[in-house]
């Protein structure tokens, strides 16, 4: 009969062996990985030394360099593509983009990108989309729009990046419709709308009229791309929308700027019971010096909830002499409101 000690003795050797093999294989894995990384780095350095000067010359329209690049071995093409396209992430100069596109076209690298777009591996599709976006090759807008429905979230993110880079009016409806798509990154949706700027506004307004249930999203989009043309709709939403819609519409008015009607609506919104709406209204009134006068209503709100008071102080400060006068009056007080007013009036040069 086996005793517990016998069992332990039997287990000891396999455990020791397993520990030994684990330690050895982990160490060997690190050594192999480091060797692979070293070889990869060496290869990259050599290819860079060989092709970077050619790439520079090709971008400067040197035909010999272009021919030399075209004659390169097929296995080097991806590295050349990286040398050509990666700098476009930081260098968005249109001339540079156009010349890169020309060289990429001459090397038929777009065919490689097309193949990658059909790859089963999501990261290849994402890389191809980002590269085509950086190249601003609008022949691939449809591919980028289609990729917004890709099963991989990362490919969808890359597609939005590409559409923001391409800025193709043909893709505008797809971008605007996707404003509500929570399967896409919020920041990227906003960035895509921002890339189109005011061009997106009419479509956003049209959709907001049809799709009243999602007006908050459209109001937020107008805070990015809205212009004076959006003011009437925004004023309507401030006057008769839900709490979130009113706050979002006021934020959009802060972006578009005010006219007398919008200012009247914003001043009225200062008196609503919801502090978030009052704070948004105060922020929207920043710098408004026209009629109706917003100085006195804003000054009254220096005693309000803190976010409202802080927004009112900033708005008064942005108004120039009239706002400054109201702040000076409040600055005489010794409480938090007085301190807030003094903070808004404070200038480092005055104290130094």
């Amino acid at each position: 009969m086996l005793t517990d000690v016998d069992v332990l003795a039997k287990l000891a050797l396999p455990v020791a062996r397993a520990a030994w093999w684990l330690a050895l294989s982990a160490t060997v894995a690190v050594i192999v990985e480091r060797a692979a990384v070293g070889i990869g780095q060496l290869r990259r350095r050599r290819l860079e030394a060989r092709y970077a000067p050619l790439v520079r010359r090709a971008l400067a329209e040197d035909e010999d360099a272009e021919r030399a690049l075209t004659a390169c071995p097929h296995r080097h093409r991806l590295d050349i593509a990286t040398l050509l396209i990666a700098p476009l992430t930081n260098d968005r100069e249109p001339g540079r983009i156009a010349s890169t596109r020309r060289v990429v076209e001459a090397l038929s690298l777009t065919r490689d990108a097309e193949r990658m777009l059909k790859s089963r591996r999501w990261w290849r599709r994402a890389v191809a989309l980002r590269a085509l976006g950086l190249l601003q090759d609008r022949r691939y807008t449809a591919h980028a729009v289609a990729a917004l429905d890709d099963p991989s979230a990362d490919v969808r993110a890359a597609a939005l990046d590409a559409l923001a880079d391409l800025c193709d009016p043909a893709s505008l409806p797809a971008v605007v419709v996707r404003l509500l798509d929570t399967s896409l990154h919020r920041g990227r949706r906003a960035a895509a709308v921002a890339a189109f700027g005011p061009a997106a506004e009419p479509l956003v307004l049209d959709l907001a009229e049809i799709d009243a249930g999602h007006r908050v999203c459209y109001a937020r989009a107008l805070a990015i791309c809205g212009t004076a043309a959006a003011r009437p709709a925004l004023c309507r939403w401030v006057s008769g929308g839900s709490r979130d819609l009113r706050a979002a519409a006021l934020a959009a008015l802060a972006h578009t700027g005010l006219d007398p009607r919008a200012a009247t609506v914003a001043v009225a919104a200062l008196e609503t019971p919801d502090p978030d709406i009052r704070a948004a209204a105060a922020a929207a009134l920043a710098g408004w010096t026209g009629c109706p006068d917003a100085t006195a209503p804003l000054a009254r709100h220096l005693d309000d909830h803190w976010p409202v008071a802080a927004a009112a102080a900033r708005a008064l400060h942005a108004m120039g002499p009239s706002g400054r006068e109201a702040l000076l009056a409040a600055a005489q007080r010794t409480d938090l409101t007085g301190r807030l007013a003094r903070q808004a009036l404070w200038r480092p040069q005055a104290q130094a």
Partner: protein, 469 residues
């Protein structure tokens, strides 16, 4: 076999089983972390900056509590002012320093006393004055009475912060220039993100000029190297594995970005917590999970910042004892979450793991060391058996550490020089032959201190950065 021999063997077997369980769990986490890290690497593009430029990025307030930091504070603030993220303000909180920290800041950055109004939703020791820089309006210095802990100073900084996001760092944290741009990304991508952290590297051995890393190298100090492999295991095995299932338990106090409203909702940092960073992260988990609100705590495995590790035994000892006390306190406070399905994978996965393999580890290890030594001295255990057990522990430890080194290579590309590998392998082996046992002892003392309510914050000897002019 005598009963004594049998008892000795059983103790050895149980201790080895504990080590095997630890190693298996670590390697399982390594597998999860490897998949997650692989995906992270594939996701990486150089577009973070472009994206941040296109949208209106959120204002980020960087809160840097400083207590007697005159050696490093100027370089740290200069580096913060040079970050490549425009919408940021820097709130340095002078936590009643007794050295020249405040005077140095005043002189260097032309600080002038400014009226600053803000409500104080979070408790902190009284604020004496608020200064603004005449040179750079983004710099605010809050001078307050010493609150006795970083949590108090952090709360004062959060109160003064205007940003919707608050980055809480240590005053001597060295940030990468794009750290802020990268750590803000999860907030731009996913509106449910409430906090984000990153891998914290060790700055010892690296060149730092004007608060910026200029070169990366393994430190000469053996003690710092030992801590590097510890950091690798913590930041590249455990945290990515937890991040993969949104069950992070700690965002390092040296670098954590939070939504300000989330911080205020949970009452900010707890001034009575010793491990205030872990306590805060757990309270966030608790708050959002209990309320069934959607939330995400994100983690970037890239080393976006670096911090000084102690290079003398005394500082290390007091740091480890403090960490231990902090851990025990946090585990006790949040014991209701352990093995509680209401808290999802935090309650059923990461927190029980920490309780067993970190909370209980020093007690179990210390008791087993003592029992085995006694058995060895009494002749109840053959010394060859004992040696075999120690070798198995060391090999398992080495396997886990080398896995962390592998992930470190893939994520950070640091310490890739030829001699670095040899040094790391030696460090991984040496760690199990004395250092680990020493840590167990400190942990044991820290646990006793936690139970008896003794022990203070301790001090760490700061060093000026290498390469600092």
């Amino acid at each position: 076999m005598t009963p004594g021999q049998r008892g000795g063997l059983i103790v050895m077997a149980l201790t080895t089983a504990y080590f095997v369980a630890w190693a298996v769990t670590q390697l399982a986490m390594a597998a999860v972390a490897a998949v997650w890290t692989w995906r992270y690497r594939r996701r990486q593009s150089r577009r973070a900056r472009l994206l941040v430029e296109r949208v209106a990025p959120p204002l980020v307030s960087i809160v840097a509590p400083a207590f007697n930091e005159e050696l490093t504070i100027v370089h740290s603030v200069r580096a913060l002012l040079a970050l490549d993220y425009e919408r940021r303000e820097i709130v340095v909180v002078n936590d009643g320093s007794t050295d020249g920290t405040l005077a140095l800041l005043q002189r260097t950055f032309d600080l002038v006393r400014a009226p600053v109004a803000y409500v104080q939703p979070l408790p902190s020791a009284p604020v004496r004055a608020v200064y603004r820089s005449a040179r750079d309006p983004a710099l605010v210095v809050v001078d307050k009475a010493n609150g006795g802990c970083k949590a108090d100073a952090s709360n004062a900084g959060i109160n003064a912060a205007r940003g919707e996001l608050v980055l809480v760092i240590d005053a001597d944290t060295v940030l990468e220039p794009d750290a802020l741009t990268r750590v803000v990304l999860p907030f731009l991508e996913d509106p449910s993100t409430v906090a984000a952290g990153a891998n914290v590297a060790i700055v010892n051995g690296c060149g730092v000029t004007d608060g910026r890393l200029t070169s990366v190298a393994l430190p000469r100090s053996r003690l710092a190297r030992l801590q590097i492999v510890e950091y690798m295991r913590a930041f590249l095995l455990f945290r990515p594995a937890c991040a993969a299932c949104n069950s992070l338990l700690i965002l390092s106090g040296a670098f954590g970005l939070f939504r300000r409203d989330a911080l205020i909702a949970i009452g900010g940092f707890d001034r009575t917590a010793i491990g205030e960073d872990m306590d805060l992260t757990l309270r966030l988990q608790r708050y959002y999970r209990a309320a069934r609100l959607p939330f995400r705590i994100a983690f970037d495995p890239a080393p976006l910042c670096a911090t000084q590790a102690p290079e003398d035994w005394q500082s290390l000892r007091s740091q480890r004892r403090r960490w231990r006390r902090g851990l025990m306190q946090v585990l006790w406070r949040h014991r209701g979450m352990i093995v509680n399905p209401r808290y999802g994978l935090v309650g059923l996965g990461s927190l029980p793991y920490v309780a067993i393999f970190e909370g209980l580890a020093p007690l179990l290890e210390f008791v087993s060391y003592v029992l085995m030594m006694v058995a060895l001295l009494l002749g109840a255990v053959d010394w060859r058996h004992y040696a075999a057990v120690v070798v198995v522990w060391s090999l398992l430890g080495t396997a886990v550490t080398m896995t962390a080194v592998l992930l470190n290579d893939l994520v950070t590309g640091r310490y890739l020089a030829g001699t670095d590998l040899a040094r790391l392998v030696v460090t991984a082996l040496v760690e199990n032959c004395g250092y680990r046992q020493l840590n167990t002892w400190w942990g044991f003392i820290g646990t006793v201190q936690a139970l008896t309510g003794k022990g203070g914050w301790g001090t760490m000897k700061r060093r000026a950065f290498q390469g600092t002019p």
